[in-house]
């Protein structure tokens, strides 16, 4: 298209004087956008008009300005043209997102904290369970101890029980002491050790019943804790009871110089 021809057609002059139709105006704007020459000519013409307008200009009365300012001040303070509304919405979006992210972070922190507490609780449960098991075992042990005590008490009080104290023998520690509960009817023999020195590793204590000057083996026993009661072999008519220190497992015949305690049975009752 011939730019020069377009310019000399006079359409640009008509445009700046506002004498174009709407169609022609759009055409001029379009041409001006495409062809810099046309744009330049257009700007030049507009500047002419601007110069016209500056000639001998008359100032309006002051109240006009006041009215205008009053009018715009009475508008809602937040009234912002479309352009800035999008800015406002964007700000809202930014704040919304920031708040959401903050909320998320807080939620995560709380979740981690709660999880920690949960782990601690679980550990506690494990250790408490272990403690519980230990306590149960102790209970069993205590139960059996109680049973033993009750049995010992029964023996002490049962009428058919003969209580035969065994005292220390010659050349043996004086504190050595034991008690035999002999059930005259059932012939059961219960042995209670008050004190016996701890035996060497390879030796063990053995109980004998002496009848007709003949020692009879009533069994070996192991001293583990105080106040133990041992159920030994039965015996019919013992004259006496004695405990000797024998090699582990016991002997067929007692080692007489290793006799620690001995006690006679009293038949006079």
């Amino acid at each position: 298209m011939d730019v020069k021809e377009y310019i000399s057609s006079g359409i640009l002059e008509a445009y700046v004087l506002g004498a174009c139709s709407e169609q022609e105006s759009k055409e001029v704007e379009c041409m001006s956008h495409i062809y810099p020459e046309i744009k330049q000519e257009l700007i030049s013409l507009q500047q002419q008009i601007e110069k016209f307008s500056n000639q001998n200009s008359i100032s309006p009365p002051a109240y006009v300005k006041r009215n205008i300012l009053m009018q715009i001040n009475s508008e809602k303070r937040l009234q912002i043209p479309k352009l800035n509304n999008s800015k406002g919405n964007y700000l809202l979006l930014k704040y919304g997102m920031a708040a959401s992210i903050l909320f998320l972070i807080v939620t995560i922190v709380i979740a981690i904290y709660i999880n920690n507490k949960l782990l601690i609780s679980e550990n506690k449960i494990v250790s408490l369970t272990a403690e519980n098991n230990t306590i149960k075992k102790e209970n069993y042990t205590l139960d059996s101890i109680i049973q033993q005590k009750i049995a010992a008490l029964n023996m002490l009080t049962a009428s058919e029980n003969e209580i035969i104290p065994l005292y220390s023998a010659q050349n043996k520690p004086e504190q050595s002491e034991a008690v035999i509960f002999w059930n005259k009817k059932a012939k059961d023999v219960c042995l209670s050790i008050k004190y016996l020195p701890a035996p060497p590793e390879n030796k063990q204590y053995q109980l004998w019943a002496i009848a007709n000057n003949t020692p009879v083996d009533l069994g070996v026993f192991e001293i583990n804790s105080k106040d133990e009661i041992f159920l030994m072999k039965k015996t019919d008519n013992p004259d006496a009871f004695a405990i000797t220190l024998e090699p582990k497992g016991g002997s067929i015949n007692p080692t007489l110089n290793e006799m620690y305690v001995i006690g006679k049975v009293d038949y006079t009752n």
Binding site: G10, I11, A19, E29, L45, K51, S53, N54, V64, I68
Partner: protein, 183 residues
């Protein structure tokens, strides 16, 4: 004002800076008022109303101003011109029907009456144009006629209107450059 200064001012006004808008008013109100007054045939009360409307329109549509199309001054002049012409037409409707020619003559008369003898006025320059050219400018710019409407009103071919208008503008431009008009 420099171009960058103007751009900053416009941005402020878009952001509803009322002080910036006041400055814009102070700088341009006279030019816009003068144009408004001319279009409305020196009727001050009408011109004051029109000027108020003009600046409110500027305030409310500042964000639509496109620097690509021209200067802010031209943009504001066009708003002032359109507002004034709308008021002129509305006012005419309220008044008795006058013939087109009568209007033109009346306005011409009014324009002549307000000629300043001191200083250089636009009308001195306009007056130096050929009458057939001058009337085109007046009808188009000050009364809002399109070229088609002028052709119809004056009963001359549209092509003639176009060429005369161009010649008129060229003439004005030359005379303005020669006589060193300007700010």
């Amino acid at each position: 004002m420099q171009e960058t200064e103007i751009k900053i001012l416009i941005d402020k006004i878009i952001n509803r800076d009322r002080k910036a808008f006041e400055k814009l008013y102070d700088d341009y109100c006279a030019a816009l008022y003068t144009l408004t007054l001319k279009i409305l045939g020196q009727q001050e009360h009408l011109a004051e109303d029109a000027l108020q409307e003009t600046f409110l329109k500027i305030w409310n549509s500042i964000h639509t101003y496109n620097a690509d199309k021209g200067s802010i001054y031209t943009w504001m002049l066009n708003i002032a011109r359109n507002t004034a012409i709308d008021k002129l037409r509305a006012n005419k409707k309220n008044n008795k029907n006058q013939s087109l020619e009568n209007n033109v003559i009346t306005i011409n008369k009014k324009i002549y009456d307000t000629q300043k003898t001191d200083g250089i006025g636009l009308y001195e320059v306009l007056n130096t144009l050929l009458p057939e050219q001058k009337i085109l400018i007046e009808m188009a710019y000050y009364q809002g006629y399109t070229q088609e409407e002028i052709a119809q009103a004056l009963n001359i071919p549209l092509g003639t209107v176009k060429t005369r208008m161009r010649a008129a503008m060229l003439d004005l431009r030359n005379k303005l450059n020669v006589s060193e008009f300007g700010r």
